[in-house]
Amino acid sequence: MIRLDDVTFSYKSGAAVFERFSWQAATGDAWAVIGPSGCGKTTLLYLISGLYQPLAGTIAVAGERVPRKDRGRTGLILQDYGLLPWATVQGNVELGLRIRQFYGLSDMNHAASARVAFWLDRLGICGLRDKYPAQISGGQRQRAAIARTLVVQPDVLLMDEPFSSLDALTREDLQNVVLELQAEMGITTVVVTHNIEEAVLLGRRILVLGQPPIREPQVVDNPCADLTLFRDAPEFYNQCTELRGRLAR
């Protein structure tokens, strides 16, 4: 589903972040990416989403070379939500559809409107549809950002530290939403986080990034993530301890 082959990338002003880096995620996989600040976690997501271009190597999603023709098919959810302050919750959720309409790719037809209504309802923000982002809480904003991404029916969901600015309860609530969506939709997800517990909870496989330049992917398998009530299971704590040790090395 996601495939990086010999990818090299560096920012204009700095040394290489990735150097001949190869990695792949299968369809329906749930990945978490963890590593210290500045290791290239966000850069990896931006490369997959096509916002950054690699200097060398190739990236493909669903067999299609990145940047994809329909970039919206690779959903990206950001830490600070990226909502438009001048659009209502409904306006924000519709944004991807409006952009497609603007480019003549599709119409805001009945099916599209129904999808908007469905995701507003599914994420519990139906009652907030006429509110502006400044009028709702951080958790509600992130729900709107998730709805906005899912409305355009992506086949990959990339999340960049999506819950790091939320309080513990809201964070837990939204983590459960992501787990439910993974189970319901079987969508390929890649969640970037600096939180060990979150990585263990949301990733059936965990990609550990060290200091750049990153050449080899370090992967930690986390099969217990499929367990029900994994958050409270002893396996969860064991996996956290193991991952913590791995990061400390």
Binding site: R71, L76, L78, G82, W86, I99, Y103, Y132
Partner: protein, 243 residues
């Protein structure tokens, strides 16, 4: 500000004016009641014609300034290299009071509408340019990334991000510049022309020592500023409800 508050303030000002004028009793300060009578009598005639001329010049200037400054401001805000190239020029020219260019503008563009519109456009253009540039460069990259990730290219970014992001600042720039623009218009209309409130106040009525009509002209010019100010204020509330 609410409509009732505005109305009350206007009434208080008129009453104060009436009282001071009647107590003082000099011809150079006619009472408000007399001025208002002249104002309404002259409005369908010469005063209305001059008011229309000034209003037209101001509206055309605003439209031109916004149309010409917004694209360049957006380009400057998005392109660091373009900003580096042009910012020194803007930095030097921005603080110069544009009214000093009046004689030069008159020499090059003549004494008709064009010179007056050009001068007011120039004043507003700088204000709008600077705020649009600042707003466009202050847009958080995350917002741009999220729109691009939904498939938005340059044109979609312009329509869905840059334009609405800059709209409140553009309206604020126009609102705060209206006073200056009308002051410059008044000055520019006060010589070498036969239309506009500047002409009506300075050349026509003041020259004839017709003080009541002169004050009616002042009221008309004040009204022009106040109505434009409130119109932009209303537009901001209507177009930028998230503010």
């Amino acid at each position: 500000m609410k409509g009732r508050q505005v109305l009350l303030t206007v009434v208080v000002l008129l009453v104060l004016w009436e009282v001071v004028a009647r107590l003082w009793g000099v011809s150079v300060l006619p009472p408000a009641s007399k001025v208002l009578l002249v104002f309404f009598a002259e409005l369908p005639g010469p005063l209305g014609r001059h008011l229309l001329a000034s209003t037209g010049r101001t509206l055309v200037s605003i439209a031109l300034a916004v149309t010409l400054a917004t694209p360049l401001g957006l380009a400057l805000g998005q392109s660091e290299s373009l900003s580096r190239l042009l910012s020194p020029l803007i930095y030097i020219v921005y603080p110069i009071p544009k009214i000093v260019f009046l004689p030069i503008v008159l020499l090059f563009l003549g004494i008709g509408d064009v010179s007056k519109i050009f001068l007011i456009t120039l004043i507003l253009w700088f204000q709008v340019l600077v705020v649009v540039r600042d707003e466009a460069s202050a847009i958080r990259p995350e917002m741009i990334h999220s729109v691009r990730s939904l498939g938005g290219g340059r044109r979609a970014l312009f329509l869905f991000v840059y334009l609405p992001a800059c709209l409140p600042a553009v309206l604020t720039a126009i609102r705060v510049s209206i006073g200056t623009a009308i002051a410059v218009l008044f000055f520019a209309e006060s010589f070498a022309t036969t239309s506009g409130l500047g002409y009506y106040i300075i050349v026509d009525t003041w020259g004839r020592l017709d003080y009541a009509a002169m004050y009616a002209g002042v009221v008309a010019m004040s009204l022009l500023g106040v109505v434009l100010f409130f119109t932009v204020d209303g537009l901001e509330r209507r177009l930028c409800p998230w503010k």
